[in-house]
């Protein structure tokens, strides 16, 4: 129902965003208690409205009159201002005024990740819209100009990495999804920033080969605006594969077509060879399908060396076979048909061996672990270790990324900084007064030195505050968590699965969605407070919580299973795909990315607000020696005499 996605204003006291699929506001300064009571009633009213809307009644405009009934003009003004700004959003205009309108204190960071979390857009459809608009931006430019610009920008990007990060964060429109913003409205914001994010995609040459053409065309519908250099590689490989496949058939058919009368008849040996060619080609087809016809999982910045090598090999093989065929057989019209068929069979055998080589190079070589990679996230230090075999740096980067999305807890910028109260109490200032007798030059240096010395001598108590702040926060989180657990447990006791023998009238029977909505209201408040305390509320919209609740109810999960998702920050892949899964990463490396991994190689995978620093260490060579222990040699005695003085 569209009414549910009508944009609602985001008010500082954040109860109303509970009712929308958008993100929840960052923690505001304490919600006044009176408002809480009012908001509770409003919440119930709003829920009723939503359910009515879902069932199709005609109360579309109700939310807004409800908002206008709010006490206090200040709220009304703010709400209107916010809605106006919000309407500008799909057009992609800059919205710095929205930052003031939100006025979210947050933890007081200079960067506005707190502002980022505020998401005025309520409709998920608008998310998808913005995604495509980003792609259309890219397709608007010709490939060559973009390539050229990308090569130039790659040099620029490396020198401006830090500044790029800063620029992107400050200008980024508040309330947009945290990670996937590069693809949306790049040109309206920081045009430098839009350019540099195309570094990874712009300059790839045939990095993917032997892929299924039909699957690629399906991808092309999704991302039809990407540059065609990628598809050039795929097309080239596909053509080569087709050529290699059809060549033996051509070898065998051409003599039959051209000089059939002159050929010597060949009976059983030829038939045996025909059968073997047929089956070998079938095996080759199946093997190629299994090995190569896969969805590409990544887009490499450089040529994938092994695949290029294999393509070259196949090309040379086929060309040399054709050459010999043309010279020896076509020109001279060789009449020994059995020899021709054996020639074709030898080509098929050679192709099978090339396929074996492909299996070994592409799949088997990297299976045995040779290196241990340590991946550390630069912002909060979350780290993991992985074992990996011989891979090039770019393939290792992709491998790390695949594991990043399910191993690392999700990046939460709100958890990064020390609380403001700790940091602000630093140098409360020693004022040094001069008594007027010394000259001024001496004074300034003397003053600064005195201030520094005094500050060094003074006991710095910020660690104390940090400790107590942490303890207090811990206590608060535990308290809210306890309330949440109790609320959820109690909510779950209100519904049960319908047994066949129970006879209930049809009006009381609910499907999972309705059941979820019915019990959600009793736990909503506790849930929201808990998420706000742990600063997780941007990651869970009300819609997502309802969906998860519906999911758990359908599968007979306990309240603990339902809560598992909220009590601890999960890996990034757990959250809604469009919002948190970024697809664009930049690989920064001092060595060429097609080099293999070596001991001590360090490379960095950058996103616009954090990066993963990966370092490789070789797994040591183990010298294992054997020692034989006779089972009868296990014997024991009492301990030695001990002497005690009394």
């Amino acid at each position: 129902m569209d009414s549910c996605t009508v944009p609602k204003a985001t008010l500082p006291y954040a109860w109303l965003e509970l009712l929308s699929p958008g993100a929840w506001l960052s923690p505001s300064a304490a919600c006044p208690p009176l408002q809480n009571v009012l908001l509770w009633e409003h919440l119930i009213a709003e829920l009723r409205i939503l359910i009515c809307n879902a069932l199709g009644s005609e109360q579309r405009e109700q939310p807004f009159p409800f908002l206008r009934a709010e006490p206090g003009p200040a709220f009304k003004i703010e709400s209107l201002k916010v809605t106006v700004d919000f309407l500008k959003v799909p057009l992609g205009l800059k919205k710095p005024p929205l930052k003031e309108a939100v006025a979210v204190p947050g933890p007081g960071k200079a960067k506005p990740p707190g502002v980022e979390r505020h998401k005025p857009r309520r409709a998920d459809s608008m998310d998808n819209e913005s995604q495509y608009s980003g792609y259309s931006y890219k397709s608007g430019h010709s490939r060559s100009s973009r390539k050229h610009r990308d090569r130039r920008d790659r040099h620029r990007s490396k020198s401006r990495d830090g500044s790029r990060g800063d620029k992107s964060v400050t200008i980024q429109a508040p309330g947009e999804p945290l990670l996937d913003n590069e693809s949306t409205r790049g040109d309206e914001r920081d045009d430098n920033w839009g350019e540099t994010t195309t570094v990874v995609t712009g300059t790839s040459e045939h990095s993917i080969s032997h892929d299924d053409i039909t699957r690629i065309t399906k991808d092309m519908e999704d991302s039809a605006h990407l540059d065609c250099s990628r598809h050039l590689g795929v097309a080239l490989a596909g053509a080569l594969a087709l050529l290699a496949f059809l060549t033996p058939l051509a070898f065998m058919l051409l003599p039959q077509l051209l000089w059939r009368e002159e050929l010597e008849p060949c009976g059983t040996p030829c038939e045996g060879l025909f059968i073997s060619v047929a089956f070998k080609l079938l095996i080759l087809l199946l093997g190629s399908w299994a090995l190569f016809f896969r969805r590409p999982k990544a887009f490499f910045p450089r040529v994938f060396v092994f695949r290029a090598l294999l393509m070259v090999l196949v090309f040379l093989l086929v060309v040399s076979y054709w050459l010999f065929y043309g010279v020896r057989i076509l020109d001279s019209r060789d009449r020994n048909y059995q020899g021709i068929v054996q020639y074709a069979v030898s080509l098929v055998d050679a192709l099978l061996f090339v396929h074996y080589l492909a299996v070994v190079l592409l799949e088997l070589r990297q299976l045995q672990p040779q290196f241990t990679l340590k991946a550390v996230r630069s912002t909060d230090g979350a780290s993991r270790f992985y074992n990996i075999g011989h891979l090039s740096i770019q393939r290792a980067a992709i491998w790390i990324l695949e594991n990043y999305y399910h191993d690392f807890p999700v990046y939460n910028p709100a958890l990064l900084n020390l609380p403001k109260s700790v940091l602000s109490k630093k140098m409360s200032g020693f004022k040094v007064y001069s008594l007027g007798e010394e000259n001024t030059t001496n004074n300034s240096t003397g003053q600064s030195r005195a201030v520094i010395a005094a500050a060094a001598r003074r006991r710095d108590n910020s660690h104390n505050e940090y400790y107590y702040e942490e303890a207090e926060h811990e206590r608060r989180v535990r308290k809210r968590r306890a309330r949440l657990v109790v609320a959820v447990e109690e909510a779950f006791t209100h519904i049960k699965r319908l047994q066949d023998e129970d006879q209930k009238n049809p009006r009381e029977i609910m499907d999972p969605r309705e059941a979820a909505q019915a019990i959600f209201a009793s736990m909503a408040r506790a849930m929201q407070k808990y998420l706000r305390t742990t600063k997780q509320q941007p990651y869970h919209t009300m819609e997502s919580i309802l969906q998860h609740l519906e999911f758990c109810i359908t599968h007979d999960m306990t309240p603990k299973a339902f809560l598992e998702r909220y009590l601890s920050a999960g890996p990034t892949i757990q959250y809604h795909k469009d919002r948190w899964l970024a697809k664009q990463w930049t690989l920064v490396s001092e060595e060429p990315v097609t080099n293999g991994l070596k001991d001590g190689v360090v490379f960095v995978l950058k996103r616009h607000d954090f990066s993963l620093v990966v370092s490789a260490k070789k797994i040591p060579f183990f010298k294992l020696s054997e020692e034989f222990v006779d089972p009868k040699s296990h014997k024991f005695v009492m301990r030695l005499q001990s002497e005690t003085s009394v």
């Binding site: 005695v637 009492m638 301990r639 030695l640 005499q641 001990s642 002497e643 005690t644 003085s645 009394v646």
Partner: protein, 124 residues
């Protein structure tokens, strides 16, 4: 002093009464013990029978209360204040000797020379 399982142990004993000396907060007796049913009896240099797990005196400090009372090195302690010491662990023995509220311990100790002396007097 040999121990026949199932039969009561018989030995010639000497009564020794030691008055504990107060040193600071401790009451000390002035000797060291070794042995016990949880210890290794073969390591005992003073016992005649190397399976004897009794409590033996391994050291006597010079001028201490034990020496004054007549305790000698190598003595086997049979009883302390009425408590048996022939079948105790090392720690139990220590505890029975070092009770804080007892100023005097009365030991029954035995040694080989006692046995020989009795035998000689009986023979002669």
């Amino acid at each position: 002093m040999s121990y026949v399982p199932g039969q009561p142990v018989t030995a010639v004993v000497q009564r020794i009464e030691i008055h504990k000396l107060r040193q600071g907060d401790n009451l000390i007796l002035g000797f060291s013990i070794g042995g016990g049913i949880d210890q290794d009896p073969t390591q005992n240099p003073f016992s005649e029978d190397k399976t004897d797990k009794g409590i033996y005196v391994t050291r006597v400090t010079e001028g201490g209360p034990a020496e004054i009372a007549g305790l000698q090195i190598g003595d086997k302690i049979m009883q302390v204040n009425g408590w048996d010491m022939t079948m105790v662990t090392h720690d139990q023995a220590r505890k029975r000797l070092t009770k804080r509220n007892e100023e005097v311990v009365r030991l029954l100790v035995t040694r080989q020379s006692l046995q020989k002396a009795v035998q000689q007097t009986m023979m002669s």
